[in-house]
């Protein structure tokens, strides 16, 4: 018996749950401004999230998937990516989208059931939200291939959850990225749950990061509630990808603090203590503790930030609510570049029968 191959998966953390430094910080984290920017982004995400849930509860938004608990991952990815990079993400990564320039109003339009939310002002080349779990892993490989073929210094960042790792699309995508050493960073937010199925129900693998071994490249596991660890890992992976070093799989360990969506009731399937425990490790408080401790953040700054976030989100929500319903012809307008003649009659019939001011049910 000889050994044909050996592997290991590394784990990275800088801040412990109380915001105390457990190992020397990476260079970028030496600058308070960088960490404050991350913190501000995380607080904006929380404000956005709370407003979305409030809108849904009052019948002004459709089903919504809260990002509560995801803030560190999203702020880190949003900061680390360059504008010309390409984001491929799920319904739970609105925070990254916000940081890339998608507006709160556009996100509300999306969740309000209006396709125009995906015609967003964020980087125009970013992909729309992917709902069919793991599909975007294949698209990311295609984007990576296109980038590599054109010798561009860009990276595709593909985000997905622990549940997504069970699907063939995930595996086929990472395997392809490995073959051609594509510039793709796979960011896996392991929030321990896929609706009601716990992480251990998805796979017997002891880490999800090790799934990259099947694709022939490195997977790394990080504390996903530690924004410094996430930022550090994503930054390194982006740099490697950009310089031809190929793909990375980053497993960020977090916890889904909220229900799966507003249509879900997580208390049906998970114990209250588990959730309470998770709140002790949550990312926003952790970074705030660190910043306060480091004396680079104050109560006044906090209050100012909260006010600004609230005002912004409030104004955007109003703009969303003021947006008139899309016209019926929108169904046909963007079906093809030019609508084939065969559609003319049906289009006319629908536009004739249904008044452009028919019943509207946003949400």
């Amino acid at each position: 018996m000889t050994i044909a191959a050996q592997f290991q998966v590394e784990y990275q953390q800088f801040l412990d749950p109380l915001g105390r430094v457990v190992r020397p910080l990476p260079a970028f984290a030496e600058h308070p401004a960088a960490l404050i920017a991350l913190y501000e982004a995380m607080v904006l995400m929380r404000t956005y999230d709370a407003k979305a849930i409030a809108l849904q509860r009052t019948g002004q938004l459709g089903t919504f998937a809260s990002l509560l608990g995801n803030e560190a991952v999203e702020a880190a990815v949003g900061t680390a990516m360059a504008k010309e990079d390409v984001l491929l993400c799920t319904y739970r990564e609105n925070g990254v989208q916000l940081m890339r320039g998608v507006t709160v109003r556009e996100l509300f339009l999306y969740w309000g059931g209006d396709e125009r939310g995906s015609d967003f002002s964020g980087p125009r080349h970013d992909f729309p939200t992917c709902v069919t779990i793991a599909s975007q892993c294949l698209h990311a490989a295609g984007v990576g291939y296109a980038i590599k073929l054109r010798r561009q210094p860009r990276v595709a960042v593909c985000m997905f959850g622990d549940g997504a790792t069970s699907k063939g699309d995930f595996y086929e995508g990472v395997n392809a990225a490995g073959i051609w050493r594509l510039p793709v960073v796979f960011v896996l937010t392991n929030n321990q749950w896929a609706i009601s199925v716990p992480r251990r129900g998805q796979t017997a693998a002891q880490t999800l990061a090790q799934k990259a071994i099947a694709a022939g490249f490195d997977g790394v596991q990080i504390d996903g509630n530690d924004v410094i660890a996430v930022h550090h890992a994503v930054r390194e992976a982006l740099a490697r990808a950009r310089s031809g070093g190929g793909p990375t799989l980053i497993e960020a360990l977090t916890y889904r603090l909220g229900d799966h969506t507003t249509a879900d009731d997580a208390s049906r399937y998970r114990p209250a203590e588990e959730v309470a425990d998770a709140w002790k490790k949550e990312p926003v408080l952790r970074l705030r503790n660190y910043l306060l401790e480091a004396r680079v953040w104050s109560k006044e700054q906090e209050e100012g930030l909260l006010r600004r976030c609230n005002e912004h989100v409030q104004a955007e929500a109003q703009a969303y609510l003021d947006t008139p319903a899309p016209p019926a012809r929108q169904m046909f307008d963007y079906l093809y570049a030019t609508l084939p003649g065969a559609y003319a009659a049906r289009r006319a019939a629908i536009l004739g029968v249904t008044s452009e001011h028919g019943p509207d049910h946003a949400g």
């Binding site: 459709g62 089903t63 319904y91 309000g112 059931g113 209006d114 396709e115 709902v131 069919t132 779990i133 793991a134 549940g163 997504a164 069970s166 699907k167 063939g168 896929a194 609706i195 009601s196 199925v197 129900g201 998805q202 796979t203 249509a263 879900d264 049906r268 399937y269 319903a325 899309p326 019926a328 929108q330 169904m331 046909f332 079906l335 559609y343 049906r346 289009r347 629908i350 029968v353 249904t354 028919g358 019943p359 509207d360 049910h361 946003a362 949400g363």
Partner: protein, 326 residues
């Protein structure tokens, strides 16, 4: 006898099947503790244990592929796909394996499985949650496609599907899951597969439909009845194979037919029915068969859903046009 909803009727049939046949297993995403996102499997885990009520990893292709393996080995898997829009990844396994296991082994092996899923639009759901792939399934040889439209039929047809020795795709109209209740006796009596249900008799025109559109069609028929027009309403129920005898007999009598589906128009089951009527019933037709369908566009987001989905108004318009045809 209890008044129950369609989704409760599904639950009842599942519980009864699990209780009466030790080979039955239920599998799918969130079917365990959560009871399924629509609660169709509520309480089953507690009653029958996690070995027979199986929370699956997030992979529809796996759910169907494993069901095939189980079925060939003699279990009776009843798997749930969370929404029909996530079922496209399973077509390969259904078509290339489930539907041909019996044929390719010349009867040596079989694949008795049921694949259930909520289907159709009308609940203002997010993208991919309002799909109607019934025609795609119906195009697959060697399988049955069932689509009940009331709690009673859901109960009786699901029992039949589970007892059937061949693979069955069982579509459940999401929109009707909780829309109304009906008295359903937990009698264990299955309904017949491969037969239409004539829900309402009438001599002026035949409305042929299935799924949630049965509801819209019955409402249209009610409204027309008030105007003295007698509409026969047929719930096709088994979409593969279709019971054309019943439909042809009805149209032979009424001479007029409107077929209603919420699936996209092109190559739909409505096309099949209209074509067959034109082929075999041409001499009895007093007017062209009209189809009321969804347009061949992407199912729009909720704010445009009411423009997309056929409704009573469109059915009434088609009926009137057909009745007025000289």
């Amino acid at each position: 006898m209890a008044q129950i909803t369609l989704v409760e009727a599904v639950n009842l049939a599942l519980a009864r099947s699990l209780a009466s046949d030790p080979e039955v297993v239920v599998l799918g995403q969130d079917v365990g503790r959560d009871g399924g996102v629509f609660r169709a499997t509520l309480g089953l885990l507690e009653k029958f244990g996690s070995e027979r009520v199986i929370d699956m990893p997030l992979a529809e292709n796996l759910i169907v592929g494993m069901s095939i393996g189980m079925a060939v080995e003699g279990l009776k898997p009843v798997c749930e796909i969370q929404f029909a829009g996530f079922a496209y990844t399973t077509i390969d396994q259904l078509l290339n394996h489930a539907g041909r296991m019996r044929h390719r082994t010349q009867g040596r092996l079989a694949c008795p499985m049921v694949m259930r899923m909520p289907c159709g639009a009308g609940i203002h759901a997010p993208e991919h949650h309002s799909e109607s792939p019934d025609a795609m399934f119906a195009h697959i040889p060697g399988i049955r496609v069932i689509y009940p439209s009331s709690p009673k039929r859901a109960y009786g047809l699901l029992l039949a599907a589970i007892r059937d020795p061949d693979p069955v795709v069982f579509l459940e109209p999401t929109r009707l899951y909780r829309l109304f209740k009906e008295e359903v006796a937990d009698s264990g009596e299955a309904l017949a597969l491969d037969t239409c249900f004539t829900l309402r008799e009438g001599n002026d025109l035949t409305l042929v439909t299935w799924g949630a559109m049965v509801h819209e069609s019955l409402q249209a028929a009610d409204e027309l009845a008030e105007q003295g027009i007698a509409i026969e309403v047929i719930d096709v129920a088994t979409l593969k194979p279709v019971d054309f005898d019943t439909i042809l007999a009805s149209v032979a009598r009424t001479g007029r037919c409107v077929v209603v589906t919420e699936a996209p128009h092109h190559c739909s089951i409505a096309s099949e029915i209209a074509a067959t009527l034109a082929e075999q019933g041409l001499l009895t037709l007093l007017a062209p068969v009209q189809r009321v369908t969804a347009p061949d566009v992407v199912v729009p987001f909720p704010r445009l859903e009411h423009h997309y989905l056929p409704d009573k108004r469109q059915i009434l318009a088609a009926v009137r046009k057909t009745l007025e045809f000289a």
